[in-house]
């Protein structure tokens, strides 16, 4: 867990570093205009400091909040969810996360007969469709192996197969689809949810459906043949090449800005796999007394940071200046399985391991 109070919180990866530099400068300017004060002074006395925890993917939000004097923590969604599912004090006033993760915690507390977390703050702050990032040469071969298109049902079923079996050269080794770990990562779980939805042909499936042998075989192939990556997988792909992964599932918000800056970004194709699913950012209140001011600062400052780091805010059709010609219209809903089913998926993955 990383806990930093102050203006210099950074996480791994050039994406964050560069995004932070840009975001910090713009946020600083905005704060100066609004408050007439100096950047970094902090807006409240220490006993009023907003305490915010962000999932790792949304570190830019916490970085911007830290510039406004908030006490911030950045950690994987699974870590926060595990803590919030217990009886201890949440330790933060608000959690910046993806919608299903908030609902997973609500469900877990209900099952544990713990007091519910406060209501409110439920509005969606930003959206981003889930994408596959595929090396162009691999995509060309996969299009033959997956004639219905590059979709997770086909990709997952071929995870771990030799590329020669898919029509590719032997030098490519085994076929390696990748995502961040779905048991701990906010994005990883959503990507897995989208993949499972494609397998069943609907997002309206239940945890009982997961007992189906064909699904278990598919999930096992995806889990054992795929790669669960930590850190900044796309950055690793861009510096270490296709050796890291052939296909990577993530959000458009992570992929597009990085690919547009990267020297070999044009060697990777961004695919919006059907059915299109969307990650939605929410600010979940965690305390009765401090959540209000925390949510307020998140809505004031965090949304700006989201817009600057590749997220679609205020109903944007595409990301400013980074729109992909292939980007589809986004559905009104996330188009993902329910939080309970996603949580059950996490457990299945852990069982397979």
């Amino acid at each position: 867990m990383q806990v930093v109070g102050g203006p210099a919180r950074h996480t791994d990866g050039m994406r964050t570093v560069l995004a932070l530099v840009a975001a910090a400068a713009m946020v600083a300017a905005a704060v100066a205009i609004r408050s007439g004060g100096a950047v970094g002074e902090g807006l409240r006395s220490s006993d009023e400091t907003a305490r915010v925890v962000c999932v790792t993917e949304l570190a830019a939000v916490c970085d911007a909040l830290a510039e406004r004097g908030a006490q911030v923590t950045v950690e994987d969604a699974g870590v926060t969810a595990g803590r919030l599912a217990g009886p201890d004090d949440p330790g933060h006033d608000a959690w910046v996360t993806f919608g299903p993760w908030r609902d997973i915690v609500f469900d877990a507390r209900r099952r544990a007969t713990l007091p519910p977390l406060p209501d409110g703050g439920g509005g969606v702050l930003a959206r981003s469709p889930l994408v596959m990032v595929v090396w162009e040469d691999r995509a060309t071969v996969l299009e033959q192996a997956c004639p219905r298109g590059l979709r997770w049902r086909c990709i997952g079923g071929r995870a771990g197969a030799a590329w020669t079996d898919l029509g590719g050269p032997a030098a490519w080794g085994p076929f390696k689809p990748a995502a961040v770990d779905p048991t701990t990562s906010a994005t990883g779980l959503l990507v897995l949810g989208q993949a499972a939805g494609d397998f069943f042909g609907t997002t309206d499936f239940s945890s009982r459906d997961m007992d189906d042998d064909r699904f278990l075989g598919w999930l096992t192939a995806l889990e054992r043949g795929g790669v669960a990556l930590a850190g900044s997988p796309l950055q690793r792909m861009l510096t270490q090449g296709p050796a890291v992964a052939d296909v990577y599932g993530t959000t458009e918000a992570e992929a597009l800005p990085l690919l547009q800056r990267a020297a070999r970004g044009d060697q990777l194709r961004v695919v919006y796999p059907e059915p299109v699913a969307v990650a939605e950012v929410v600010a979940a209140p965690l305390t009765a007394d401090g959540a209000g001011r925390a949510i307020s600062i998140i809505e004031d400052t965090g949304v700006t940071a989201l817009g600057q780091s590749g997220w679609r805010v205020d109903g944007q059709g595409t990301v400013d200046g980074q729109g992909s010609a292939d980007a589809p219209d986004l559905p009104a809903e996330p188009n993902l399985p329910s939080a309970g089913v996603l949580d059950a998926l996490r457990l299945r993955v852990e069982e397979i391991r």
Binding site: H10, W172, T239, A263, G265
Partner: protein, 603 residues
């Protein structure tokens, strides 16, 4: 803690001491007039521990950063101060305790060659119930592990058309027919070069790859895998083909380069696991990656080519860890973060290419010298091996300690009169310190290693011999204390018959050559040849070379230790090089314990 773990720990700590002794901790480029890195003034100091292959690059970058007005935290200037520490040694020091009086300042930023060292550090701390010290790091630059082979040898295996894997190389290393199986009996046995994984990132990565090859896996290596009899047999078979070990790959590359000049490189070693960056340096004519003043690079006659193993390989990612340690305050951490961002800037990432690394910032394209011209392929590797979980890596290191090739070593110690001179300001003599170090070094051999003790000086014994065998070579597990007792009883006597004892010790091991072991002489001397009866250095060198080259060679290595300021390091280097070994510099007698440890890392 097991004995093997204790030995490993002791080895690493001592190696760190050697690394410190062999480097200039703070002041650099004293003659160049460049900004020195030894006077931070009133600035916030960010000490760095940096693996050796990138120290020049980081010192350059630190100088630029330190001189910028923008390098400050809350108005206070920042002074980044990199010092050289090998990855394994730094890991051990951070785990066991970093003595600033001996090691220099404790680092705010630690940059080993690979993130794997951070994982091992955290695992060792966790095993003791202590918090993690290495948070997720930011990769500075990357370079893949490759199998370096002389081009004709790789081509004999089908390079570049046929994929070659670790399993192929390791199977070949166990084939008694050697290169004869590929139509080249003149190249002799297949000889494998490996570095000690306790010190070397290449050695650690190669060890992981070896275990993957043994299991047929490319991911999910487990402790149980390592403990299987089949894997154990495979590993011992591979180790049996090893020429010798060492703390860095530079020993192999330097020896390869020297034998290339003599036209004998193909019978020195057939394949060594090295970082791609080192192979580029070699093919540029700069095998150790450092150009001394006046040194002109000269490309080798037979270049090396990089084999990217078909099973996959591992990257060294050179992370920057801003340590979660009680000696790092918030200002230092913020300053460290600013330097971490600075080195990621595209103009600074362009510089990593000059040094043969691939950029860690994806905005900077891979370019020259990562090209076929230097024997490497920027489109490779195409697949990776998974970095094992930290407990698996710790187990791998422990098991290697038992599986490594056994050694047969004659320890030859100078007991000439000058060894009775004071070692420093204290009352101890040079011989006192050497005895203490030699006795400590005995602990680093495994029980199956065979070790003997010979002393030399003129006029020894009733027959006025030049040397005397105090303990015949035998399994050290049976005679460790006997050797130690003999060492304790040593006293300084007369002159230094260096050439005679070097030749006779070498010849004795040649006669008793054991192909299942690393055969070596460790020759400690504090002086120069003082024997009027034998001053024929050229004759000695020719003799050593003639019996160390060729496909039927029975290689015996001489690892000399130049002990004290009067030792003839230049001559000792020539003796070492004639046997494709390395000479060690202990001109400061107080470093002898550390140097002994580095020498023993070859076995």
């Amino acid at each position: 803690m097991s004995i093997s773990m204790w030995r490993t720990g002791a080895l690493l700590v001592a190696a760190a001491l050697v690394a410190t002794a062999c480097s200039l901790p703070f002041a650099v480029d004293q003659d160049s007039g460049e900004v020195a890195l030894d006077d931070p003034g009133d600035c916030i100091v960010v000490d760095m521990a940096v693996s050796p292959e990138k120290i020049d690059l980081l010192q350059d970058l630190a100088r630029t950063f330190n001189s910028q007005d923008s390098s400050q935290v809350d108005g206070e200037c920042i002074f980044v101060r990199p010092q050289r520490k090998s990855s394994g040694a730094a890991m051990s020091l951070l785990a066991e305790g970093w003595d600033e009086a001996v090691e220099g300042p404790r680092p705010v930023i630690w940059s080993p060659a690979s993130s794997a060292w951070g994982a091992i550090l955290n695992q060792q701390l966790a095993d003791r119930g202590e918090p993690e010290m290495a948070p997720p790091g930011t990769p500075f630059m990357v370079t893949p592990l490759v199998i370096a082979m002389p081009q004709p040898m790789a081509e004999a295996l089908g390079y570049p058309d046929e994929p070659i894997g670790f399993a192929d190389i390791l199977q070949l290393s166990r084939n008694r027919e050697g290169w004869g199986a590929f139509g080249h009996p003149e190249w002799g046995q297949f000889r494998l070069g490996k570095t000690n994984p306790n010190f070397s990132t290449s050695g650690l990565s190669a060890l992981i790859a070896q275990y993957y090859a043994a299991t047929g896996k490319v991911r999910g290596l487990t402790v149980e895998d390592l403990r299987s009899d089949e894997v154990d047999r495979f590993a011992r078979g591979v180790e049996s083909a090893v020429v010798h070990y060492g703390d860095t790959t530079l020993s192999f590359l330097n020896n390869w380069y020297r034998t290339d000049a003599r036209g004998t490189s193909l019978t020195y070693v057939s394949a060594v696991a090295v970082e791609e960056k080192s192979l580029i340096d070699y093919n540029r004519g700069n095998p150790d990656g450092v150009l001394d003043p006046g040194e002109e690079p000269l490309e080798p006659k037979i270049p090396l080519v990089a084999v990217y193993p078909e099973e996959g390989t591992l990257f060294s990612d050179n992370p920057f860890f801003v340590l979660n340690a009680d000696w790092v305050d918030e200002r230092e951490a913020q300053a460290a973060q600013l330097f971490t961002e600075f080195v990621q800037q595209p103009e600074n990432q362009q510089r990593v290419l000059e040094f043969g690394f691939r950029p860690g910032n994806p905005e900077v394209a891979v370019g020259a010298p990562i090209s076929a011209e230097y024997g490497v392929d920027p489109s490779q590797p195409q697949t990776l091996l998974e970095v094992p979980q930290p407990p698996v890596m710790v187990e791998a290191l422990n098991r290697w300690g038992q599986q490594r090739k056994a050694a047969r070593v004659l320890l030859v110690m100078d007991v000439s009169g000058s060894m009775g001179d004071p070692a420093g300001q204290g009352r101890e003599t040079k011989l006192d310190l050497a005895k203490q170090a030699a006795i400590e070094a005995l602990e680093q051999f495994k029980a199956e290693d065979e070790v003997g003790l010979r002393i030399f000086t003129t006029d020894l014994g009733d027959n006025r011999e030049d040397y005397l065998d105090l303990v015949e070579i035998g399994e050290i597990g049976q005679q460790r204390e006997r050797i130690a007792a003999s060492i304790r009883s040593l006293t300084p006597i007369a002159g230094t018959p260096l050439y005679t004892v070097a030749k006779d010790s070498y010849d004795d091991l040649q006669e008793q050559f054991d192909s299942e072991r690393i055969n070596a002489v460790v020759l400690l001397t504090d002086g120069r040849n003082e024997d009027p009866r034998n001053q024929d250095l050229d004759g000695l060198l020719n003799h050593l070379r003639s019996t160390n080259e060729g496909q039927a060679t029975r290689p015996v290595r001489i690892f000399p230790i130049a002990y004290g300021a009067d030792a003839d390091l230049a001559v000792l280097r020539r003796i070492a090089e004639a046997t494709n070994a390395t000479a060690y510099d202990a001109s400061d007698p107080t470093t002898i314990s550390k140097v002994f440890t580095a020498v023993i890392s070859n076995f």
